[in-house]
């Protein structure tokens, strides 16, 4: 207890008395000096660093996406993500660095300094980040974060709980290797973990996709009958660190704010005491819970995934984009960077006189099952190139069109562990698949379909 008669002796965080006459250093709760400068004071100038943000004007999603004039810029994927967040009226963002995402969240910090994002801090690690995003989203504000590879897996417990809590946050995944030994290079195996969470998952081919999908993700995820998190994945480095052309609206406009009261669940009531740390008492198996409460809860999450289809069609022009499918000798189905490589492979095939159709998958959850059944009905050969070992996309394609197409489905080529995919590998699979000559370049390709060769199926099963 301090003696009220004695003057209080100020101490530093180590307990030593402060005797100097230096101005008091402000510290954060951890005792670190606060050095950040938001709002920034530049010399004697009174220029408000938040000036641009304050002048931003709210426009409708329809105007933002379809009518607003756009200007082309040559920027990296990380910069595209920053520009998307700038125009998305984001309230809250939490960062924890991991390659190749660090630059993205650093740039979101710049947006915070400029006032475009209302709250921002660095989390303890990804579990804390994803939990904080859950808190922010439950409280009713618009949340954004990004992570990659091992960070995705560290955060996956809270991430997997977002859909059940009906939290419409947007998370960007800049995919990289997760396996040991450590590597920071691209490999999109982490998407396979996200596909089964009940969240919406988009896969961006390039910087333009990243820009568009993030902004549209907020609007689609926040629709009342959806109210789900949206994961926007891209392949790290190829998209995040490389420059490409991105058509963007002016900086002076932004999306309408989140209207949390229009969500499928009530927001966390943190203002009326006692503050409720969880929205509800635990919903656990007991005599006052129906046996199927968790079952219908999951049904509801996936029903919401289904309901997002019409908004994906409305705002993104479809879950997949078919090109030259009619009359093609073979089809390539791909997402993300594999889609970019496939475009080149199709050009090389054309040089050899082979016409190949292309279906780019933009939305992995919901998956364009009906679309593929219709598009692949007459296909004879479908090649599914992927930047991972297991071929998660080929499995989804095969499951979707089983019984609706007699096509040979080649699950490959695959590259993984941080490799680029030479387009020649894709060409080999297409030509090999058409001529019957198996490519030696792709050991884990597989052939399924009507005339099943048991040996090849066994090979396929061993390799996926």
């Amino acid at each position: 207890m301090s003696n009220p008669l004695e003057p209080e002796v100020k101490t530093n965080p180590q307990g030593d008395p402060i005797t100097s006459a230096e101005p008091e250093q402000k510290t954060n709760p951890q005792g670190d000096p606060i050095t950040s400068a938001a709002p920034i004071k530049v010399g004697g100038s009174s220029k408000d660093p938040h000036e641009g943000a304050k002048k931003q004007r709210v426009v409708t999603p329809e105007y933002m996406f379809f009518e607003a004039p756009r200007k082309r810029e040559f920027i990296t994927g990380s910069e595209a993500a920053k520009e998307a967040v700038r125009r998305s009226n984001v309230d809250f963002s939490v960062a924890y660095p991991i390659t190749p995402q660090s630059e993205t969240m650093q740039l979101i910090g710049v947006l915070y300094g400029e006032g475009y994002v209302k709250e921002y801090y660095r989390g303890e690690e990804e579990y804390g980040v994803m939990s904080a995003i859950a808190g922010g989203s439950r409280a009713g504000v618009r949340c954004f974060t990004a992570t990659a590879g091992p960070g995705t897996l560290r955060g996956i417990e809270p991430i997997a709980s977002w859909p059940g809590h009906r939290l419409p946050a947007v998370a960007m995944f800049t995919c990289r290797v997760v396996n040991a030994p450590l590597a920071i290079q691209p490999d999109n195996i982490e998407i396979s973990y996200l596909l089964n969470c009940g969240m919406i998952v988009f896969h961006a081919e390039n910087q333009q996709d990243l820009f568009d999908f993030i902004m549209k993700g907020f609007i689609i995820g926040e629709k009342n009958d959806v109210t789900l998190p949206v994961g926007v994945a891209c392949d790290g480095f190829f998209v995040t660190h490389a420059r490409n052309y991105v058509d963007m609206q002016e900086k002076g406009i932004k999306l309408p704010p989140r209207q949390a009261w229009k969500g499928a669940v009530p927001v966390l009531d943190a203002e009326n005491p006692p503050a409720r740390l969880s929205r509800d008492a635990p919903v656990q198996k007991s005599n006052f819970m129906a046996y199927n409460i968790h079952a219908v809860w999951q049904q509801e999450v996936w029903a919401a995934v289904e309901r997002s289809r019409r908004y994906i069609e409305q705002y993104m022009g479809g879950l997949c984009t078919p090109e030259n499918v009619e009359g093609a000798e073979a089809l390539i189905v791909a997402s993300g960077s594999a889609a970019a490589q496939s475009r080149e492979a199709i050009r090389l095939c054309k040089d050899q006189g082979v016409t190949v159709g292309f279906i780019k998958i933009r939305s992995l959850r919901p998956f364009p099952t009906k679309e593929l059944r219709q598009l692949c009905a007459k296909a004879k050969l479908i090649v599914v190139p992927e930047f991972n070992y297991v071929g998660w996309l080929a499995k989804d394609v095969a499951a979707a069109i089983y019984g609706y197409s007699d096509a040979k489905i080649v699950a490959g080529p695959h590259v993984y562990g941080g490799m680029s995919m030479p387009v020649e590998m894709i060409v080999d699979e297409v030509i090999g698949g058409l001529t019957g000559k198996r490519s030696i370049a792709v050991p884990d390709s597989a052939i399924m379909g009507r005339d099943v060769n048991q040996a090849e199926v066994a090979h396929f099963m061993q390799n996926i």
């Binding site: 490389a242 475009r343 680029s420 030479p422």
Partner: protein
């Protein structure tokens, strides 16, 4: 048919492999083509392997990542060959049939018989250019080796012009918003100090590019391929006209 060249440049840290690729890529775009570059290196240090990949076309380029099967390989340093300082070995790994190898060396190198045979089977064109010597002679120092090589590849492929290469050099050293790594920034300041003035730096670099271009032209490199390509184009045009 689209004209397409995938160019793999291999050298060692400090030679300006990445800078060279930027200049070539910018020059191609300035000359009206399409181009992308992907640099690739580990922790920055002198004499460690560096690769940079330049894609060039007259159509949009979607492809990303490293180039595994190049049409053209440019070897900036003989150690790429003798010490295996590249990410793929041997140095011509994946070179396409009838591909081009442009090597910075004062004369033909003695390659192992097996490698010589493989290159023969691929009908590879081997061009040796004394790029470092040209840089020393024209600019007075070896740091413009990359410029000589870019000049030579420009002359061989005619993907760009001397003028556009010169403009690209100006962009690189005068342009705003060009982001370089810490190591490159340090080298830039060394180069700038040596040349006293930026103007001199740019002029000397452009002179080395021209020396490289002229060297390739004097030796008739690429003339045969250009003539064949022209013949094929003319034939296609005639066919199209007769139809």
């Amino acid at each position: 048919m689209a004209k397409r060249f995938n160019i793999r440049m291999a050298g060692v840290g400090g030679q300006g492999v990445v800078t060279g690729s930027h200049i070539l890529s910018t020059a191609v775009i300035r000359a009206g083509g399409e181009s992308t570059i992907v640099p690739f290196y580990g922790s920055e240090k002198r004499m460690a392997p560096v690769e940079s990949y330049v894609r060039v076309s007259d159509e949009p380029i979607y492809e990303i990542g490293e180039i595994t099967f190049p049409h053209i390989c440019i070897i900036f340093h003989p150690q790429v060959i003798t010490h295996g300082k590249s990410y793929t070995m041997p140095f011509y790994f994946g070179l396409k049939q009838n591909g081009v190898l442009l090597i910075n060396h004062d004369g033909p190198m003695k390659l192992p018989p097996q490698e010589t045979n493989e290159l023969k089977e691929r009908n590879a064109k081997l061009y040796y250019i004394p790029a470092t010597q040209l840089s020393l002679k024209v600019a007075g120092l070896d740091l413009a080796t990359n410029m000589a090589l870019m000049g030579a590849i420009g002359a061989i492929t005619r993907l760009t012009t001397l003028e556009a290469l010169g403009e690209a050099v100006k962009d690189r050293f005068l342009g705003k918003g060009f982001v370089v790594s810490g190591g490159t920034a340090a080298l830039d300041s060394v180069v700038e100090r040596k040349f006293k003035q930026k103007q001199e730096l740019i002029e000397k670099n452009i002179a080395v590019i021209k020396a490289g271009w002229d060297y390739a032209e004097e030796h008739g490199w690429g003339a045969e391929e250009r003539a064949e390509a022209k013949k094929a184009d003319d034939l296609a045009a005639a066919e199209a006209a007769s139809r």
